[in-house]
Symmetry: C2
Subunit: 507 residues, 2 copies
């Protein structure tokens, strides 16, 4: 048997992709499962990714005129019931508060007491409670558009959870907007979908396909749901963000009405849109390799980690001094609107172990500095998007002067690599046999990574979707917005089709 190259993450992606994902999270110390069913703990390195996602997105939202606010965690059951499809869609996953204190139980310990007259649902999303407030805030056409966002925690009771991708509690933002006309609301829905697509491409280096969801995949209560879909390295799709055109459904449910310029009362048009900590799962699965996490520089908590190489205490002062000056010079450089983020790691642990810890955490640039480097005013640089052994010596001044350019090159390289991977695993499929083969592993007992994105004609019926999902566990991810009008024949029914839909297995 051939000797395997040694990697930091076991198993590798090819060996066991789901387990590789868990191990990357563990090795990078991003998060861990908590003793609370289905809830994770986001650890500092993972939370810093979320803080950077928040910082960038928040700026993009505000640039479109959106303001942040905060609404109650609890939603009275009667509010949720106001929109029939909505409550039906969430009823099976609602955590319900029924009591407001604890009292001594007969057998010792405590039990819930003080039963509430009306149960409170822990928000699975906030359309109904925010709608109740919007109904008060919107009186006249002069109050519109109303553009509000909330950063909050959300609870949806999940039976099968996976860190970042699907957890009972998660963090997200939810935008909620009110408009005077259908057209303005549709434009807002499209604008925020584009914000998400731009953020995914530019900041996460994650190419996405924006498109409309089919009827069966719509947000409960929406008229139309749009999403961005990304391809993970196991070729499965990840829905990474959604934007909903809600029509007048929630305006009718909550009574969001305004007097127009002619003093006539009108129901308003609303939208909602959100992304969550699931994005971090997407980031991990788009870029990481068999040595661990790779963080796109624009979202990196640290851009450069400096590793002093100290073999004896005598050299310590000189090396640390040099490292301090290097760090200061790097911090004077700017990348993507921030000072370059630098840390000197002088913890007293073995050099190899320390280097690998930062490789597994995905820091873009590692710089080793020892007495020999100092003698030649050089640094020894490793880049996280290259082989760990592939390091180069650079003059200190050159490294400092080019650090932003290197980060930028890495950011673009990650995007291009992900895009090339998606293109290599996207296929236009025109026959059902080919479709079945594409989505069927060669060995069902030990399924290898297979499939990808299939662009196929279909006739738009919910029945076809259901059948494909039941047979192959494949779903229509979206009707891509940039799909060309291309008359064809539905590969499932033989009926005429106007354009292709995107099919994939999905998270």
């Amino acid at each position: 048997m051939a000797r395997q190259p040694k990697n930091a993450i076991a198993p590798t992606r090819a060996e066991d992709y789901p387990e590789w994902y868990q191990q990357v999270i563990r090795a990078a110390d991003l998060a861990e499962n908590s003793p609370v069913r289905g809830c994770m703990v986001i650890k500092p390195w993972g939370y810093q990714l979320w803080e950077n996602i928040q910082r960038v997105l928040d700026g993009m939202f505000k640039a479109t005129g959106v303001e942040n606010a905060y609404f109650p965690l609890f939603i009275p059951l009667s509010f949720l019931e106001k929109e029939a499809e909505h409550v039906e869609g969430f009823a099976k996953e609602c955590a319900v508060v029924t009591h407001h204190r604890l009292e001594a139980a007969a057998g010792g310990g405590l039990k819930p007491a003080g039963e509430l007259a009306e149960p409170l649902v822990v928000r699975p999303t906030s359309e109904t409670i925010i709608g109740a407030m919007f109904a008060k805030w919107v009186q006249s056409y002069r109050d519109l558009p109303l553009l509000i966002n909330q950063w909050a925690n959300i609870v949806r009771w999940e039976l099968r959870t996976r860190m970042f991708l699907r957890t009972t509690e998660f963090l997200w933002q939810e935008g909620h907007t009110v408009h005077a006309t259908e057209q303005e609301a549709r434009e807002e829905t499209a604008r925020m979908l584009q914000v998400y697509a731009d953020f995914a491409a530019n900041d996460m280096a994650m190419p996405v396909i924006p498109g409309e969801k089919t009827e069966g995949e719509r947000f409960p209560g929406a008229v139309a749901t749009y999403s961005i879909e990304a391809m993970m390295q196991d070729r499965k799709a990840l829905q990474a963000g959604t934007s909903h055109f809600l029509g007048q459904n929630f305006s009718h449910a909550s009574g969001i009405k305004y007097l127009d310029a002619s003093d006539v009362e009108q129901y308003a048009w609303t939208t909602s849109w959100g992304v969550s900590t699931r994005l971090i799962g997407g980031l991990i699965m788009t870029h990481s390799d068999d040595d661990g996490l790779i963080v796109p520089p624009r979202l990196a908590p640290l851009h450069v980690v400096i590793l002093p190489v100290i073999h004896d205490d005598q050299a310590r002062g000189e090396v640390m001094d040099y490292c301090g000056k290097l760090a200061a010079a790097l911090r004077d450089q700017a990348y993507a609107g921030r000072p370059v983020q630098v840390r000197i790691d002088d913890r007293d642990i073995r050099g190899g172990e320390k280097t690998w810890a930062w490789i597994k955490k995905g820091v873009p640039l590692r710089v080793e500095v020892g007495p020999r480097d100092i003698a030649s005013d050089s640094v020894f640089v490793g880049r996280r998007d290259r082989d760990p052994k592939d390091r180069v010596s650079m003059k200190r001044g050159e490294f400092v002067a080019t650090v932003a350019a290197q980060l930028d090159q890495m950011q673009r390289g990650l995007y291009e690599r992900a895009l090339a991977f998606r293109q290599a695993n996207t296929r236009r499929i025109d026959s059902l046999d080919e479709f079945r083969a594409f989505f069927t592993p060669a060995n069902p007992d030990k399924p290898e990574i297979h499939g990808g994105f299939a662009l196929c004609h279909y006739n738009g019926s919910v029945e076809v979707e259901k059948r494909v999902q039941e047979e192959l566990n494949v779903t229509i991810r979206c009707l891509p917005l940039d799909a060309a009008d291309e008359p064809g024949t539905c590969i499932f029914t033989g009926q005429p089709s106007a354009r292709r839909a995107l099919f994939a297995k999905a998270y």
Copy 2:
């Protein structure tokens, strides 16, 4: 009857202080009550105050080595029960999740279903769930200190709520740290109390008295609780932040142990500390006047609002052009580490109404610009800490060049005014009769603003505290840390006392 001066807020502080507080919040559009019992909605202007508080405090925490993380909203009942005093302290105010879905009820509508084997408490604070994680994370003395903070929502079921000051759900940060020694944990407790005191003084312009809480006012489960106490304009005290030395109580409860350098297992020492959206209530009641909110410049969402004065459409282009250039020049100035925050308000509403809207929102500087000002290259400036009618014309260049200095002057002026008010209403009291008179309104049927801070000798017993609270509704706010050793006689018992305690009525 003498004619009253007209103010924007009715009633005034002197007329009805609690109602004045509610009306300031309404007039500034900071927040409003929600249809969910005891829960408020924080509106954009109020939420921007919170964002600025978060930004500054988060930087201060991180500068001391603290990292952010996120822990579950839900705490299993058995976790809360691990520390006896702790669960007893919170049992009466716990929202309890008992079911995880909704199903059709016999009489129509939905009812809770899927009863949980173990009830989940919505976090009233997170010592126990975070402690459970820390017990896994801490293994060796090398893992210490562990310095973690969480920004989160908290639920404590309250019967009587008041916006920002006491709400069933509120936003806060909770720091949780683990240390190898008692001394380090005590130092951390003191360090974070000082961070809060510095933030209150420097950023909120709110002078505070740091001190230790008495036994009866300790955080449930703490060995010692410290707080910062501020005086509101009705002379009542507001506890604005707390820092707890938890000893080894939670280490024992959660099993937070480490191997010391000699490989001997030791229980760790922990602290916790927090501030909440209550700070916004403190900010409002420290600075606002009978015309509405006054925001300290360092936390202001906007520093300058520019109000174009346009009487005819012909002048509009010229005025807006001038305002645009003025805004750009102001944004090039920096104040307290941020570019000066500017908005041009060209909404089509009456000039007087518009000006008063910004006065009520507390924007530090208002600038009116009309054709006559432009002709002399001047702006007409109103400062929120001065009378609304007391405005001055300044050359544009001078205004731009001095904007940061004016903001700084206003920030310091607000602090000095608040400090002078506190000093004027703080009294050293050495007799019980004087104490009673100090805290008793002249007319009990229509109590005017009275009382203040009383510095008195007391003998440190819980009984005295209880008696004073029952008789006069006065509590010991703290034992001030800077109180001089000053032997005296307890005014309640005649027993000897080593130093003075701070008494006040409180929120």
